[in-house]
């Protein structure tokens, strides 16, 4: 007999739900996504083979439009690290890095990122070949460790660092206030980087071309937002956390071209069809959850199934907003440089803790959620430090909140039994609250 069933009435959990998969015809976006991501990695390898200069970029605040302008292929160590971890290949990289003196307290993104490429690694990974950086574009937004990470590359590989200093959204007295001098500062730096890239690549800067790229970005961006906001529907046609994390790959990696823009149109359309057919990520929708925090990649599907078996759907998450808080920011191709500057400022983790708490509160209300799940990881103190305070905040508002702990890349921090225990207990109490039997 299945876990936590009730003696009378139907079961609240089922292993069928845990294993449930959205019918193929309603789940093509994911397949298409992985196909396009594969192509992205192939193009990288090809470019590297041709001896093209490789830029390393960071997910938060990546000025991908500008790199496109100068036809520089960009590698995102965060992305290849999480993909390696997702494919179960992270542990050897952790150990290799630790043998070089990196502590268990260092971010596992940094460890896998540095250990994957020479001189520590070979560049050969479960994803295929990952080139080491020639140019490392440091977008200091939302994460201080970005700086230290890029410094590691500089001292290990001699990569040249291009610095973009993005001020934190930090004025606690004035809500959502971004001083003018912040935007000007970022814009000035962008122009500085542009002129340096002109020299390196010999390509002239064309504002017109940039506008064109940004128009695609804006288009993709708007549909990306529409897709995520489908989570407001009851029942929700998508899992705004576990599925959205698949969907966010392209907005991060290939924003600014037609293919990507079309992809997000396709996604919105697919989710529409799901909604009309009453299809969602779980057989039915018993619980609606807001997710705060970075996911667990090494056990992604197992972890997800612990929620699915309760027919719980993540209706929205903060993590997909690390590429920019879509609810708040929109691209404006008419002010190309400023709009990129503003985009870089409004990465989720570049928002101060009060704004983050407010956003979560807004999510709970606007997405009619039953509770909040906070996944706290030691690796990312930018995300995690103070999540305990969020818990306090929600306890104060009588919003059920579950705190979980593991890591996003390092498999050594995941304990199946404890995860299950905490998650089951959380749903048991949610069920009581909702009077489910």
């Amino acid at each position: 007999m299945s876990a936590s069933a009730t003696a009378r009435g139907r079961a609240l959990t089922s292993e069928e739900a845990a294993q449930y998969r959205v019918p193929k015809e309603y789940n093509q976006a994911v397949a298409l996504q992985s196909q396009l991501v594969r192509k992205y990695f192939e193009d990288l390898a090809a470019a590297a083979a041709k001896g093209k200069k490789m830029a390393y970029g960071l997910v938060e605040a990546n000025p991908i439009e500008i790199l496109r302008l100068f036809d520089i292929p960009a590698v995102y160590p965060e992305v290849f690290s999480l993909q390696i971890s997702y494919k179960g290949g992270a542990l050897p990289l952790m150990l290799a890095a630790e043998n070089e003196g990196y502590s268990t307290d260092c971010c596992s993104y940094v460890k896998s990122g540095v250990a994957a490429v020479p001189p520590i690694g070979t560049g050969q990974t479960p994803l295929g070949y990952v080139p080491k950086p020639d140019i490392a574009v440091l977008t200091y937004s939302g994460c201080q460790i970005y700086i230290h990470w890029w410094e590691q590359y500089h001292y290990w590989t001699g990569a040249k660092i291009f610095t973009l200093d993005i001020p934190y959204v930090r004025d606690y007295e004035r809500d959502r206030y971004v001083p003018r001098h912040d935007v000007r500062y970022v814009a000035d730096q962008l122009m500085d980087v542009i002129s340096q890239l002109e020299q390196i690549t010999g390509i002239r800067y064309s504002e017109e071309k940039l506008r064109e790229i940004l128009t695609y970005s804006a288009d993709a961006w708007d549909h990306w937002r529409m897709a995520l906001e489908m989570g407001k529907k009851v029942p929700s046609p998508l899992d705004g956390y576990f599925e959205a994390i698949y969907y966010m790959s392209l907005i991060t990696l290939t924003r600014g071209d037609k293919t990507t823009a079309d992809y997000y149109r396709f996604l919105v359309d697919e989710l529409q069809r799901r909604a009309e057919a009453g299809i969602g990520p779980t057989p039915e929708e018993q619980f609606r959850l807001v997710f705060e925090g970075v996911p667990n990649y090494p056990y992604y599907k197992d972890w997800w199934s612990l929620f699915k078996r309760w027919n719980a759907r993540g209706v929205v998450g903060t993590y997909p907003k690390v590429t920019g808080v879509v609810d708040y920011f929109r691209f404006n191709p008419d002010r190309p440089i400023e709009t990129i500057a503003e985009y870089m400022i409004h990465a989720y983790c570049n928002w101060n803790m009060l704004m983050r708490a407010d956003l979560l509160k807004y999510y709970v209300d606007a997405y009619k959620a039953d509770g909040v799940v906070i996944h706290s990881i030691k690796s990312c103190r930018s995300f995690s430090m103070g999540q305990g305070d969020f818990k306090e905040y929600f306890v104060g508002m009588d919003v059920p909140t579950l705190m979980l702990e593991s890591d996003h890349v390092d498999p050594r921090y995941y304990s199946d039994a404890q995860m299950r225990n905490r998650i089951d207990a959380f749903f048991e109490s949610l069920a009581l609250r909702k009077g489910l039997k």
Partner: protein, 390 residues
């Protein structure tokens, strides 16, 4: 007798020790100062803060350096996770338990993600407290950085003026810079003393003298420091056969004094990064016609490396190589606060340089609240044994 009269009558070291121990949790000295002088209090989190700005507006800038285990982390346990460094947790505890209430403003800078978020959750729990978060530039090699930081200091002044009821006066600021330059020179003189004749000034005396500089009114401190150093330089003590050691990593969280004492039994700690901010900034150019811009340049143009501040033009490996050479260092101690990522990454960068030079080094994790120090003693004794004997 007023607080300042009393202080004037005190032995420097006695005063230094007293205010240091008072600043773990109580800050009663500063509270009395506020009551008696009607001045304002500004508390700031490590590593660097432009003290002269606050000073010129009638604030006593006080460095909040963690409770060093003198407070139970109860609220901190609820609000912050256990993988967060001790100084941040104890600082939150101090704020949450009202020990920082008499500070009119709290200031933080972008030294790390933890300190950044800490500023936010303190504000969330103390909505009425003015909490200023300064984003110090990291792209310091480009021109816009200066204008930006100038504007950022403008933001700071905007927040402080209403509290102090004064407007910023450039002449006052110039005078503040001058007196803080004096403070820097005295601390620099003490640094040199530890480098040349470490046996004259044991670590804990040096530490009290250093920390008091972040707690006392600068005028009082400068006067006391002068007589203290005068006394120390006259000391006649015997040099022991100990190796000369460089300590790196203690730039933010404070190592427990008994740990440092235990280690100094075995070696001479000739240079360290404890309370490095005010020492790192160096002399601020008083001649500059815009004193605020002088403060800005002192930060952006500073080419001394600082773990918590990135500067594109600095080569950290070359710097540690020079440091080891110039200070005649036998071995390096990486004193890493538990869970302090910045220190952990710089460790790797610097160790790579030391490996090339065949300079022995050890890494030791510590927490401000530690109560046992055998690990540290054993580590340094072994190092000394391996260098002196064998």
């Amino acid at each position: 007798m007023t607080l300042l009269e009393d202080a004037a009558s005190r032995e420097p070291l006695e005063l230094f020790r007293e205010v240091t121990e008072d600043s773990y949790v109580d800050f009663s000295w500063q509270r009395r100062w506020k009551e008696e002088t009607g001045g304002r209090l500004l508390g700031y989190f490590p590593v660097y803060f432009p003290e002269p700005i606050a000073h010129s507006l009638g604030f006593l800038p006080v460095n909040i350096l963690g409770a060093s285990g003198y407070i139970e982390l109860e609220k901190a346990t609820a609000h912050t996770q256990s993988f967060v460094c001790s100084i941040s947790r104890s600082t939150f505890e101090l704020a949450a338990t009202g020990h920082l209430d008499h500070f009119d403003a709290l200031a933080f800078t972008n030294i790390c993600d933890v300190a950044r978020n800490l500023s936010g959750i303190i504000k969330r729990n103390k909505p009425d407290k003015t909490v200023v978060y300064l984003h110090m530039p990291i792209n310091n090699a480009v021109a816009p950085a200066k204008d930006y930081l100038y504007g950022e200091y403008g933001r700071l002044i905007e927040k402080l003026e209403p509290i102090s009821g004064r407007k910023l006066d450039m002449e006052a600021l110039r005078r503040s810079i001058a007196i803080y330059n004096e403070k820097w020179e005295l601390q620099h003189r003490m640094e040199q003393l530890r480098i040349e004749r470490p046996w004259l000034l044991p670590y804990d005396e040096y530490y009290y003298a250093l920390r008091a500089g972040q707690l006392l009114p600068v005028e009082l401190y400068v006067e006391k420091m002068r007589s203290f150093l005068g006394e120390v330089e006259k000391r006649d003590r015997k040099q022991q056969d100990k190796i000369r050691m460089l300590v790196l990593g203690d730039f933010c969280e404070q190592p427990a004094l008994p740990l440092m004492r235990a280690m100094e039994d075995a070696v001479y700690l000739v240079y360290d990064e404890s309370i490095i901010g005010p020492r790192w900034i160096g002399r601020v150019d008083g001649a500059e016609e815009d004193p605020l811009m002088a403060l800005v340049k002192a930060y952006t143009d500073n080419l001394k490396p600082l773990t918590t501040r990135y500067h594109p033009l600095i080569d950290k490996q070359q710097h540690i190589a020079e440091l080891v050479k110039d200070l005649r260092i036998d071995a390096v101690l990486f004193l890493v606060p538990k869970f302090c990522e910045p220190a952990l990454y710089d460790f790797v960068i610097r160790k790579l340089a030391l490996d090339k030079m065949h300079i022995p080094y050890v890494k030791l994790e510590y927490e401000e609240s530690e109560t046992t120090f055998e690990n540290g003693r054993m580590t340094l004794e072994t190092l000394a044994e391996s260098i002196i004997f064998g």
